[in-house]
Subunit: 226 residues, 4 copies
DNA sequence: AATGAATGAGTCTTCATTCAT
DNA sequence: GATGAATGAAGACTCATTCAT
């Protein structure tokens, strides 16, 4: 049964990946980069067409509109942006604190791998009006919240985490601190005098530091008794 | 003595008021709101003119361009968006931890009071290209970083805070968590089932919760020995 | 009786000169320079106000409109732009060829002294639509034509100039050659490798060369029998 | 042999036609007319679009900007506006004076055929600031100057033209007189009482008169010994 | 299936002019 | 008499999208 689900799930992923042909993916990736850097409104379809090396008309042709291209991108990327913790949660060989550490590394891995998409999300979550995209962001947040809640409650039940933890704020510390680091990494560079470090190396460094920092923070917050 | 203070204060206000006349402030405030909601590129000068109930041409007339309006806004708001901790830092009657608590409340107060401006800043800090605005954001960040660093080092020297604290990441936790709460407050609402709470009440609640949460977090992080 | 007329005429001149106060003249002179360099449409009233160091609204205030300012300028300058040959024509001590030489020097003097105004006229004479300004240009041209015609006919009657001379084209040679030199003097500079010569010196040189050249040309054309 | 020439010619036409498509030429021709009549700044792209019966956006679409349209026009027209005298210069069957006559007729032909373009050039040569267009005008002038200089020097060597001729001013007489006639032809009309003559006839007349006049003038100037 | 050409609606900005003071 | 503030109209240009092929 479990296997079946897994397979179905993989299939779904397969389906979705197949759903978009090469050209479409090519466009979405170019758009993603530009939306991240300049915002949605600040990016013209002309920019995207040029960056993707495709004909201008192709974007409307394939996606219908700029708006729908954005939605497609969320559909495409959103899937694997959600935390995948189900099996971790059920794993009886891991202590609650170990699970938290997995969660942190999992999250850091995702956010750094999809930096552009993350920036777009960070921008989009600010708009107050509701749309298919804000809807999807909400679902993602809610899902992540449930998982983290479950995880922490496990630790509390095990007596390893203290009571009265503000889980929604703790989640925001995880996402907010990471987001801050990713979206404002050129400031991080300057403040820490790392102007000359190559991008990859900097990224590695940031991930490392962030992982250590957040693990320690969570441990402290989850166990420290004022 | 009291009169003197009052006068000085009035004078400061006077200065600021003189720097930008009523109409200019009116425009900046309308723009601030719109930029926060829809982004800079997503907001037309027509939108701003309508929201500010002024003639379309007045925006160019007063600020020269949409871009310069944004810069003026940063000039106008930026001043009082920096943390004002100098006197707190030198205050010998406060323990390091009390100073941290002041810092946190000061920060929360500011970010909630200027939510719109904060959102704009959060957006602008994502753009990679350098501009007068990104420059100003950097200066603000650096200043805030210096203050927090000084504050924490005081605590470390006093033996009350542990060594090896990643101060730049700790700052990002402060700003990132708060930012997350402010920019994504409608998600906070939904996740915590507070859909029907009036805005003011919600805000009060969030500030309260955030204050308690962050104070506890800082205490934990600054003193907890893994 | 003749004296009276002269006086009336002088009075008219007096009147006209007085007609415009200092500020108005200041504005007209600034406008003249700019219109010459950038054309009428290419010059904004803002440009003029700045160049004349007067308030923007003053231009409309004093002249009614940009158009009317131009007309006033033509009124103001036009007077002394016409050739003043009446007394020369009647002077019995001068030979026809001497009169022609006077005409040439008179014309050169005028066009170089009022270069800016000349450029404006050169531009305005191209527009096909009729206006008070084109009307005034026509009157000036016609007057000049009459004078030159009279002058040449005197020489023909005296048997010193040959018959069948195309007077209207000869006039165009006078005006056209001079105009070409004045309007395209930076090309003259380059072609003759005079880039480093100071403006005043160049002007002197051009006037001298042009005078010699045109006098010789007129002599040749008026007397040469193919 | 004839066929070859025809083919080459067709090819040249082909090239030129291909360089700018029909719509572009249509726009350029409408613009040319308007720029000639009202000046560059005095003509709006809206005017041009209407005159060319094309959509307003097509001007930016095809040329990028109004400025670039002007440049394209210069590129397009400029080519065949230069004098084509090389073969005439080397022709040993023509006497120097015959070559001068050819030059004059060639010039008159060109300037009357491209009156509008000529007017634009006459306007543009007045602006003092340097631009791609003034640059092109200078090149054209310089080239024409070289050709005329060569031509006259041939005559001088042959002992048929007198020495010390101011060639740059002589060129200005050619261009200036012609220009005057073309740009101010409605004044020519009025002065010579030709108001009722049909345009084509007037043009023919003016070309004829100008040709005779200039040939005689050149002969006189080039051979007359004061 | 894919695209070059085209466009109506919109962008920001500048214009000459007016008006209350 | 003079002007700072204000504005409707127009400026050039860019936008996302459509459509014939």
């Amino acid at each position: 049964m479990f296997v079946l689900i897994k397979r179905l799930f993989s299939f779904a992923v397969f389906i979705r990946v197949m759903e978009y042909n090469d050209k479409q993916v090519q466009i979405m990736e170019a758009a993603e980069k530009l939306f991240a850097e300049q915002g949605f409104a600040g990016t013209s379809v002309r920019d995207i067409a040029e960056a993707a090396h495709v004909n201008l008309a192709m974007i409307s042709y394939y996606f219908g509109s700029k708006e729908k291209l954005m939605e497609a991108m969320f559909h495409h990327r959103g899937v694997d942006f959600k935390l995948q913790l189900e099996n971790i949660l059920q794993n009886k060989n891991l202590s609650p604190i170990q699970k938290v550490e997995r969660l942190i590394d999992d999250y850091i891995e995702r956010i750094f791998k999809k930096q552009s998409f993350h920036k777009i999300m960070a921008r989009e979550q600010m708009v107050s009006s509701s749309s298919p995209i804000t809807e999807q962001i909400y679902e993602m947040k809610q899902r992540n919240f449930s998982l983290i809640k479950e995880l922490i409650q496990q630790g509390q039940k095990a007596g390893q985490f203290k009571k009265n933890i503000d889980i929604s704020l703790l989640m925001m510390t995880l996402t907010g601190t990471s987001s801050q680091l990713v979206t404002a990494q050129h400031y991080y560079r300057k403040i820490n005098h790392l102007e000359d470090m190559p991008v990859e190396e900097l990224e590695k460094l940031m991930k490392k530091k962030l992982s250590i920092y957040l693990k320690n923070l969570f441990k402290a917050v989850l166990t420290y008794e004022g």
